[in-house]
């Protein structure tokens, strides 16, 4: 584990430190200008929010149907990361929209469904934190609903009338923009794997502490 972890930390730090430099040299978009560069952090964060929702949902399913405690610990870690990356998406998006659309927020399909997805996972964490004994199962079911929401959020820009750019924008990026974008995706993905590993380790330690408390009390 540690043999992989240390290089991963170094790789994550390098990529994340290099990302702003690479973004600075990327071409400026004709219509939106400088503010378009928010895209390089906004979209990878959104991708990881979706990935994390899937990780949380699948791990919750493993916990609900197979009673795997380790899967439950992965689910908590991923749920927290949905909220973290969702927060980044919900803050960087309006900063872009203020310049591009003239408004901070618009209640259109993509923005509203993203906010709802984020709120489902905030609720997931609140249930886990304050729900008392047995709340893991209820939270697990919530995570499944959260995961089921992800495809709707993704296709919302293609099926409903919305101001938000469509999903095709990533595939039609110009070469200079494409390389920068995928470097940022790699940087965010590395950081995500690191954070998930660390958060899972924290849950493992917490479980160990709880077991030791029981052993000491016996």
């Amino acid at each position: 584990m540690s043999r992989v972890f240390v290089p991963l930390v170094l790789a994550g730090m390098l990529l994340f430190a290099a990302a702003p430099l690479v973004v600075a040299t990327a071409p400026v978009e004709q219509t939106m200008g400088l503010v378009q560069k928010i895209f390089y952090y906004h979209v990878p964060s959104a991708m990881l929010m979706f990935v994390s929702a899937f990780v949380c949902g699948i791990a919750s399913a493993a916990y609900l149907f197979r009673r795997s405690a380790a899967a439950d610990r992965v689910a908590v870690a991923a749920g927290e990361l949905v909220v973290l990356f969702g927060l980044i998406v919900l803050v960087t998006g309006p900063l872009w929209a203020r310049k591009a659309w003239g408004v901070w927020w618009e209640w259109d399909a993509r923005l509203t469904s993203s906010l709802l997805l984020w709120m489902i996972f905030v609720a997931y964490l609140l249930v886990r934190r304050f729900g008392g004994p047995g709340s893991e199962k209820l939270a697990g079911a919530m995570a499944l609903f959260g995961m089921a929401n992800v495809p709707f959020v993704y296709v919302s820009v293609n099926y409903w009338r919305t101001l938000h750019p469509k999903t095709s924008v990533v595939m039609t990026l110009a070469p200079g923009m494409r390389a920068t974008f995928w470097l940022c995706v790699a940087a965010f993905a590395t950081v995500y794997v690191l954070l998930l590993t660390l958060r899972k380790r924290l849950e493992d330690r917490q479980a160990e502490v709880e077991q030791l408390y029981l052993a000491v009390e016996d």
Binding site: T31, G102, T180
Partner: protein, 111 residues
């Protein structure tokens, strides 16, 4: 060890290669995304029209021209701050748990 060093070198070279490719590419702007709004800084939303007429004494001001740099810097700064705060919180919680774990192990051994 060799694989680790190789991985680090490759990761370090990747941004350099992208930077070099961008420097080598012909200068100029990139065609606009067809899905993007038409005019920066101007609302393109279809809003409800007001139901009554509100008189003003002066001509309405021109649409504001927002500078992009503060928004861009704000967005990037927020990402960095959010990630660093989260890592700091994880580290604090981990330190506390490690201390608690060491204390419990000591208590378990003495019993």
């Amino acid at each position: 060890m060799k694989r680790t060093v190789l991985l680090i070198v490759l990761v370090a070279l990747l941004p350099c290669a992208i930077l070099a490719a961008q420097q080598a590419a012909p200068a100029g702007t990139v065609p606009a995304d067809p899905t993007a709004p038409t005019t920066a800084g101007q609302p393109t939303t279809t809003r409800e029209l007001p139901q009554d007429f509100v008189p003003v004494n002066a001509m309405p001001r021109q649409p504001e021209q927002l500078p992009a740099a503060p928004l861009l810097v704000g967005a990037y700064a927020f990402v960095w701050v959010a990630l660093l705060v989260y890592v700091w919180l994880l580290w604090t919680r981990m330190t506390k748990l490690e201390r608690e774990l060491a204390d419990l192990r000591r208590r378990a051994q003495t019993q």
